[in-house]
């Protein structure tokens, strides 16, 4: 294996034998043993999967529930053994695939920290040295001597996450870790991800959140029915993943599926307009619902028209805005405002509407509106905001 390869998975298959009649008792085993028609159902979870991950890659793995992602992760972590094929890991890998493994509700927060630390391979002395930092990060000072069963689920995750990030491993496995926790703590987690990325650590992230995939991953892979269906560019994988759901949810509104527009069409962008002043960008998007939709969130992406480079994006979920359900023919208008930091050039926006889990896209529309910035003074910087200046000077008055 080459030096720069962190993980190499070679033609790995994994199947579970599911007996048609489970022999959980000896009687069952004895009776069935003498019967010729003992049958097993081979449940193939992973089928001939090969890929490799280089050192320093932030590798995303996406796929539907039951696609084999978690099994793959368990194989990587050494919890399962492959039925066929082999996998090599170069370096130390986090041994856990979930946060807070081994947490015991009857123990106090403090005791759980030490127990969990030991599971991650730390001695008591090591843990004692790190203890204060862990509690600081989790922001649970007042609760450490309470039993874990009295913690909220968010508090438990905070504690678990704070311990987990101490694990000294070369390769990190992260599976949907950010599912719980309030906004402030999520930000901490994202900062930690950013830090990992900056340090060039090797990370494997399994998630349903395409936002996280787009933001952190350098490469990604989509698994479906135990096979790799797409591997490589993050954006392509993310779109393939979203397409998986829009295909499934395709309804009466049949639409032309091209690269610039997809979704099931339950709600569509009926108007999009970008206005700019020297200081502000004002984006107005209008959506029309074609059915009753319970869960909905709206978003936009502002990108450079030629290169399609994402400049910035936002959505109602990120702004902590819960959108009410919409009824058929309801028109929703949103006005987004952001400081005008753009340099001269041509830009466009994508407008999107989807359910809050981002699993189902009602519509994603590239080039909903395009606009030009040309009246600014050229600059070498990446952004070009209005810079205000105020000069004051003071001199001693010379009198007479």
């Amino acid at each position: 294996m080459a030096d720069n390869i962190a993980i190499n998975v070679d033609k790995v298959s994994k199947y579970f034998k599911l007996p048609h009649e489970k022999n959980s008792s000896i009687k069952g085993a004895v009776v069935n043993f003498w019967r010729r028609d003992r049958t097993f159902e081979k449940q193939q979870v992973l089928n001939d999967v090969s890929f490799s991950i280089k050192n320093g890659e932030f590798f995303g793995v996406v796929g539907r529930n039951g696609s084999g992602k978690s099994t793959l992760l368990k194989l990587l972590a050494g919890i399962y053994n492959p039925s066929k094929g082999s996998l090599q890991v170069n370096g130390k890998l986090t041994p856990f695939i979930e946060l807070g493994v081994g947490f015991n509700p009857e123990l106090t927060g403090r005791e759980n920290v030490f127990l969990n630390g030991a599971l991650l391979g730390f001695s008591r002395a090591n843990m004692a040295a790190m203890y204060d930092d862990i509690v600081d990060f989790a922001e649970l000072h007042r609760f450490m001597d309470q039993k874990l069963k009295n913690y909220s689920s968010g508090m438990q995750v905070r504690l678990a996450f704070s311990i987990a990030i101490r694990a000294q491993s070369d390769i990190l496995l992260l599976d949907e870790v950010l599912a719980v926790g309030d906004a402030a703590f999520q930000k901490k987690c994202y900062d930690y991800f950013m830090e990992l990325k900056r340090q060039g650590r090797t990370v494997i992230l399994v998630t349903h959140d395409m936002g996280a995939i787009r933001q952190y991953c350098t490469r990604a892979m989509m698994i479906d029915n135990g096979k790799i269906v797409k591997e490589g560019d993050v954006e392509k994988v993310a779109q393939a993943y979203l397409a998986l759901f829009s295909e499934e949810n395709k309804t009466k509104q049949s639409k032309s599926e091209d690269d610039d527009r997809w979704g099931n069409g339950l709600q569509t962008t009926t108007r999009a307009k970008v206005k700019t002043t020297d200081e502000e960008i004002i984006i107005t998007t209008e959506f029309t619902a074609h059915a009753h939709i319970e869960s909905v969130m709206y978003g936009f992406t502002l990108y450079e028209k030629a290169s399609k480079t994402n400049i910035f994006e936002s959505n109602t979920k990120r702004l902590r805005l819960k959108m009410p359900p919409v009824v058929e023919n309801e028109i929703t208008t949103l006005e987004w405002r952001a400081p005008n930091i753009l340099r001269n050039g041509e830009y466009a926006i994508s407008s999107s509407t989807c359910d809050e889990s981002t699993l189902t896209y009602y519509e994603w529309l590239n080039g909903a509106d395009t606009f030009k910035i040309s009246n600014k003074v050229e600059t070498a910087g990446a952004v070009n905001p209005v810079v205000k200046l105020k000069v004051t000077s003071k001199k001693d008055d010379i009198k007479g």
Partner: protein
Amino acid sequence: MRHIFSKQNRALLSELVRTDFKLRYQGSVLGYAWSLLRPLFMFAILYVVFTRVFSLGKSVPHYPVYLLAGIVIWNFFLEMTMQSTTSIVGRGDLIRKIRIPRWMIVFSTSLSALINLGLNLIIVAIFMVINHVGILGTLPLVILPLLEVYLLALGLSFLLAALFVKFRDVSYIWEVLMQAGFYATPIIYPLSRIANISFQKLIMLNPMAQAIQDVRYTAISHNTITAYKLFQGGWHALVPFIFVAAAVVIGPIYFRSQSKYFAENI
């Protein structure tokens, strides 16, 4: 293999044992004191029942202590094997979600039982003093039969824990076997009460019987019938050790061969 007692593994073992003890007396007012009080009260009852009511051991010197030693060793064996049987399945949350050496779970259970044995032996020592048992020159040798019981229990623990993952009947079967074993072993009755010498010999092929008698011989009274005495040094005296050796070899080998599949079979 060279990492079996690495620093990390030792840290994890001590944490698992610690947790086990913390949880055992969770929520009780007296807490850890129960680990001494429980055997103390149990012995007090047995003492009254078997020395005052039934008086089984009139012929045996220091019968109360003799009885206690037998009970303590048997309970250690029972507790360790029963708890180990369900240990792997009971810790399924760990097995399915983290890569730690599987044997460590069984081993930590055995250490908890060993600590309990130590506490119980303190009580036995107290009874020895009360009962004016003289200190025998062979007392340090008591460690050997105790070690033998531990090894036997450990080998069986690995076997039972791995079997239990596949067959949940194992715990019930073992419980019944242990009930039978309790009466097939000279614990509450002295071996000398068995009139038939062939029966005596049969009983002493059992490693538990042999070990308990050896403990009594080395620590309490040289009048105790040991396997060595009974078989007059013949090769039959080795049979109990063959059982122990078989358990120590087969248990871990079977456990090792199955441990790969624990995560998916639990």
